[in-house]
């Protein structure tokens, strides 16, 4: 079914408030989920609500806790998310980094003792909307098998990079691995096969059955079992195609998150406590040149790339193009909610004595 972004937002604010989040935090959490659904990133949208509520119920998430600023300078920030949702500490950190970067050109933050933070791009876009370059990273549960290894160890470790621009910023946002676990989950739900080389078993044989891959991922991500296999690093199954570069990119995120935060590395987030870490950076491009000129030069490069000769039936898209297209469409026509999620929303609504969002 389709629901309007407005009704999704109102429902989410009510639910989060019922579960003990402050009005401001409820509004922020609702906005991050609606934003993901509008951008077509439904894996990070309202379909996560039931999962978040389970984590509230088992005290993995503590809705009343406010983030603690442990250390701060004009260019840097160390935040304890205080076991609340990652979104709350992340938006706080980004807001502060934007001010810091405007005064000091560049600023960075690390968040410890955090949780899932939604889409990485949400926070780096905050910087882009303020005319700044934003970087956003998180570690995750273990899913990804290093080059030559048989067992999952690394997180899918998101990396978002945003550069200001019109009509919309450049937004590169995704897992550093070949795909996120969520992409395999979606195929498994539908019973569709995996189209590319995304997952391997314990003998590094490519798995095409999404349900078989999903079984492996559930075991490594949510239990201490190590059935062998997992998601591939960017570059695929073969060292010849430089899959060690994807491995390197994922390790960079491990170092900037779990290691700098002195939290869990991805490999250890499957044991009880859901202990993620995040890293953010904001850079003011106007130190290096007139912002309008830099933005125009970037747009001119993007236009040249979009217009390159290309394969028939394909399109060359710059990172961000697709999600802003979805955003504009879904703003008008509503966001899609799958049947499982619709059932979950009805159940949550009943528990909270609320009305679930109505189909358009």
């Amino acid at each position: 079914m389709k629901i309007s972004a407005k009704s999704e937002n109102e429902f989410l604010i009510q639910v989060f408030t019922k579960y003990g989040f402050t009005p401001d935090n409820s509004a922020l959490l609702a906005d991050t989920l609606v934003d993901a659904d509008l951008r077509g990133i439904s894996s990070h949208g309202i379909q996560r609500l039931a999962w978040y509520i389970n984590m509230i119920k088992d005290h993995t998430i503590e809705p009343q806790n406010e983030p603690l600023i442990l250390k701060e300078t004009p260019t840097s920030l160390l935040v304890d998310a205080n076991q609340n949702m990652g979104h709350i500490a992340s938006a706080l950190a980004m807001t502060k980094l934007i001010e810091k970067a405007k005064n000091s050109v560049v600023a960075t933050a690390v968040i410890r003792n955090s949780n899932h933070f939604g889409t990485a791009g949400y926070y780096s876009r905050m910087a882009a909307e303020a005319g700044l370059i934003g970087i956003s990273n998180t570690n995750t549960r273990p899913l990804v098998v290093p080059t030559n290894a048989k067992d999952a160890f690394l997180g899918s470790n998101a990396f978002a990079f945003t550069f200001p621009g019109e009509p919309h910023p450049f937004v590169f946002d995704g897992a550093t691995s070949v795909v996120s676990g969520g992409k395999i989950q979606v195929l498994a739900k539908k019973g569709d096969p995996i189209p590319g080389e995304w997952a391997i078993d314990g003998d590094r044989q490519v798995v095409k059955d999404a349900n078989e891959a999903e079984d492996i991922l559930s075991a490594v991500a949510f239990t201490e079992k190590q059935p062998g296999g997992g998601v591939l690093t960017l570059g695929g199954n073969s060292e010849e195609n430089s899959n060690y570069k994807g491995f390197g990119n994922s390790l960079v995120v491990e170092l900037l998150t779990g290691i700098l935060a002195q939290g869990s590395i991805s490999a250890d987030t499957n044991t009880g406590k859901h202990d993620f870490s995040q890293f953010f950076m904001v850079l003011d491009p106007s130190f290096f040149g007139d912002l309008a000129t830099l933005k125009a030069n970037a747009q001119s490069m993007f236009t040249r790339i979009r217009n390159l000769d290309h394969q028939p039936g394909t399109q060359i898209m710059i990172p961000g193009d697709r999600e802003y297209k979805h955003y504009d469409e879904n703003k008008v026509h509503g966001v899609s909610i799958d049947d499982t999620t619709a059932d979950q929303l009805a159940e949550i609504a009943a528990q909270c004595h609320l009305s679930a969002p109505q189909a358009l």
Copy 2:
């Protein structure tokens, strides 16, 4: 043949001095090339000397010019390399960023009007050796074909990331594309086929003949011809395997280098002037936690990864492992010089009235 690193270094200092570089700059340039050869990155070692000399002779490189600091704050730096070798402005920028990051936690630099700067890792390692995290980027000549496109447009755009550690730092250093152009050049020289999916022709068909690929790359990189094809983005030839993520990584480097520097983007460096740009960042991890603890935690993660169950006959290597192994071996046994390079060195020695390095 093999020559000692010491004799390579002495020879290079003499040659660079003859060509008008200051003693300090000659010593720096020699060190960067010897360092690459010691680390087994011979594509960026002394085999580049003849190419550099040609660029000096045609005034693409101006050895007497000193870099100009155009703008500077406690956290940031904009440098004009003044059409001298990229190494000189880059080492200056890194030295300054290291001091800045020690005082201000984080600092960034952009270099414009620059040239080839050797290996990206040389500069980020300077940060690691000072106990800091280093990032180093450069754009390059156009070589890389965006997702779905038929023509090369992006540079191979190096990214190096370094994290301090013992016995050696984490050093992730390489092209953001599936391989660098140099790797194909080496196979073409040997007459070997390309083992993986590295290059495509104008119909996005994979090219396995290294000489055929090298012909494409020479045309796009050094002339304004666009024969179609080039190097693939990381992720390979298929959008299904997320080659748009490799495309995104390459675009991030374009934005941080050519765009921020207001220099040429990679696509335009094949027209006359050799106008590259570089980006650097240094971050002090000790703001976030005790440095010894952070380093120990990173090493413990690396050890766990190295010891994961793995495919028979393979090894799991952490970025940096391979190059430090080569470094230790080559320090003792000398660096390898191919026959073509040996002939070029003899010729350069004769022109400069010097003795070429002797085979060990």
